[in-house]
Amino acid sequence: MTHPKIVILEWKNEPDDKTLHQLIEFQKTILKEFEEVIQITQGYCSLMLFHKNNVQNIEDYKTKLHHLYTSQSMKYPKKGELWQIPVCYEEDYAPDLKTLANDLNLNPDTLVAKHVSARYQVCFIGFLPGFLYLSGLSKVLECRRKERPIPNVPQGSVAIGGRQTGIYPMDSPGGWHIIGKTPYPFFEPLNKKPCFAKAGDSVQFTSISKSEYLQLEGHRHNGTLKIKPL
C-alpha cells in the first residue's frame, strides 16, 4: 500500500485512445459514486485516488472498484473539443528550429509542416499548471531532449522533446527543443475555467506570421483574446 489515503489504479495496456477513454470515463464514475474520493490525478495509464480518510479494508475496496469498473456502461464517450492553436514558427520565436531540423535531417519548413499536419490528443494535464500532455507526434519528429535544460523557457513556447510535443504555460526551466510560440494563454488562475482544454480534447497547430502573432498578443494584453473550439 502506497499511503493509507491513496489508491493507485493501473492499466496494463499501452497508452492508446481506448485506454485514455477508459481512464477518463472511470474517473467520472468514481467521483460520482464514491464520496470518499476527493481528488483523482491521471497519468498515461494510471489513476491516483485521494481519499478523505484512510482506506480501511483494501481488499473489500478493490472488489468494489472492480465491480464499479465492470458494471459501468462502457459507452464510447463523445469526442472532446478540438482546439486550433495559432503558433508563430518564425526565427525570433523558434530558437531551436534550425538545429533540430538539422539533427532530424529535415528542412525547417518540412518540420513545421509535419508539426501542423497532425491532430494531437490531450491525454492529461500535469508537470505545470495548464501543461497539456499531448500524444500524436509524428515519428519523424521524435528527438532526444537537450543535454542540459535551459533555465528559462518563455511562456507560450511550443516545443518537442522525446516522443512528445507541448506548450509551456508559464516561464519555466525546460529541456525540450523550442520550435515556435503561441500568443494564447494556457493557464489563467483567476478564470472560472483556468485552462480551456481538458483530457480527451484534441489540439491542432496552425502556422501564423510574426505580424499576426504580434496582433494577437496585443489582443491578449487588452484581455480580448479568447480561444474557441472548432
Binding site: 499511503h3 494535464i125 499548471p129
Partner: protein, 282 residues
C-alpha cells in the same frame, strides 16, 4: 496590514494548499510542517485552515500597522518584538507600529506565524498558498503588505503549549512502499532500509534531492501521478523526495511514499541533515 520591511531568506504565505485542483496540473502546495501550522493557529483559536506566514532559514522584518495577536510555532528564530525576545507557542499581543524581527532558525528550519483571524490575501483556486503562476507573487520578496482579518475576539486565556519533544532532532522517516518498490533489486531495497541518507544543497519547497544513490535498472516509466512525499529514483540512482510544491505527475519510478508525519519532519530539515527511512509494516 503587516508591512514587510525585509522578506528574510524564503518566506511565503501558506495554508493547507490546493488538494482537488490537480487535474489542472496545479500542485497541492501548502505548509511544509503541518504540525507547527496547526499549533500556531490553535493557540489563537483560528479556523483550522487559516493562512499563516511560513519563514525558512532566516525570518523577515515586519511592521504591524494595526493591533492584533500572533503565535509562533516550528523552528526557533530568535524573534524580537521591539527588541525584546518573544517565545514560540504562546499568544503574543501586538500593538500598532510594533516591529517584529526574526533571526536564524534553530531547532528546525521553518517557523510559522499565525495571526488572529488569519492572513487574508486573495484566495485563488480555493487557497491562499503562494505559488509562481497562481498567486501574483510566489514569495514575500515582492509582497509589500500582508492583510489580515481584523476580528474582535480574545485568544483563549493563558493558552500555552509546551511540547515535550520537538521534531527537529527526529532522524527516522516512516515510509510506505511506492508503486514501483518491487521493481528494485534486493540490494537497493537493503540500502534504503539500512543506510543513512542526507539532504543535498538542491532542496526547496518543491523537492529534496538526496546525496546518496541506490543502484537499480528500472527502465523508463510512462508519466504517472505523484504527490508530496513521493520518492522518485532517476536512471542514475539519485533519490528525489517530492515536497509540498511538487508537480502533479512525474516520469521516474516511484519507489517510496513518505508518511504524513515523515513529511512534516522533513519540512524542518535542510542541507546536510541526515535521516533513515523506516519501512512501515502496512
Amino acid at each position: 496590514m503587516i508591512e514587510v520591511l525585509h522578506p528574510g531568506i524564503y518566506s511565503s504565505i501558506q495554508d493547507l494548499g490546493r488538494l482537488g485542483q490537480q487535474s489542472l496540473g496545479v500542485p497541492i502546495g501548502g505548509v511544509m510542517d503541518q504540525n507547527a501550522f496547526y499549533w500556531a493557529n490553535r493557540l489563537l483559536n483560528n479556523p483550522k485552515h487559516s493562512a499563516v506566514l511560513e519563514m525558512s532559514f532566516k525570518g523577515p522584518k515586519l511592521l504591524f500597522h494595526q493591533p492584533t495577536t500572533i503565535a509562533l510555532a516550528g523552528a526557533n528564530m530568535d524573534a524580537q518584538l521591539n527588541g525584546l525576545k518573544i517565545a514560540n507557542l504562546i499568544p503574543v499581543e501586538i500593538k500598532e507600529k510594533d516591529l517584529l524581527e526574526f533571526g536564524n532558525a534553530n531547532f528546525g528550519k521553518r517557523t510559522y506565524m499565525a495571526v488572529k483571524g488569519g492572513i487574508h490575501t486573495h484566495e485563488i483556486l480555493k487557497s491562499r498558498s503562494q505559488y509562481k503562476g497562481i498567486t501574483t507573487y510566489a514569495t514575500l520578496s515582492k509582497t509589500k503588505l500582508i492583510p489580515f482579518n481584523m476580528v474582535k475576539f480574545l485568544p483563549p486565556k493563558g493558552a500555552r503549549l509546551s511540547l515535550k519533544k520537538t521534531n527537529s532532532k527526529e532522524e527516522v522517516i516512516v515510509v510506505y512502499r511506492g508503486p514501483d518498490f518491487d521493481l528494485l533489486p534486493e540490494k537497493a531495497k537493503k540500502q534504503l532500509e539500512k543506510n543513512t541518507f542526507s539532504i543535498s544543497i538542491n532542496n526547496s519547497r518543491m523537492a529534496y534531492v538526496l546525496e546518496e544513490k541506490v543502484e537499480h535498472q528500472i527502465s523508463y516509466k510512462w508519466t504517472a501521478p505523484v504527490l508530496p512525499g513521493t520518492v522518485q529514483c532517476t536512471p542514475d540512482g539519485t533519490l528525489i523526495i517530492l515536497m509540498r510544491d511538487a508537480q502533479t505527475t512525474g516520469g521516474y519510478p516511484r519507489i517510496l511514499q513518505v508518511s504524513d508525519e515523515g513529511l512534516n519532519i522533513l519540512g524542518q530539515k535542510s542541507t546536510n541533515e541526515c535521516f533513515q527511512f523506516q519501512l512501515s509494516a502496512v
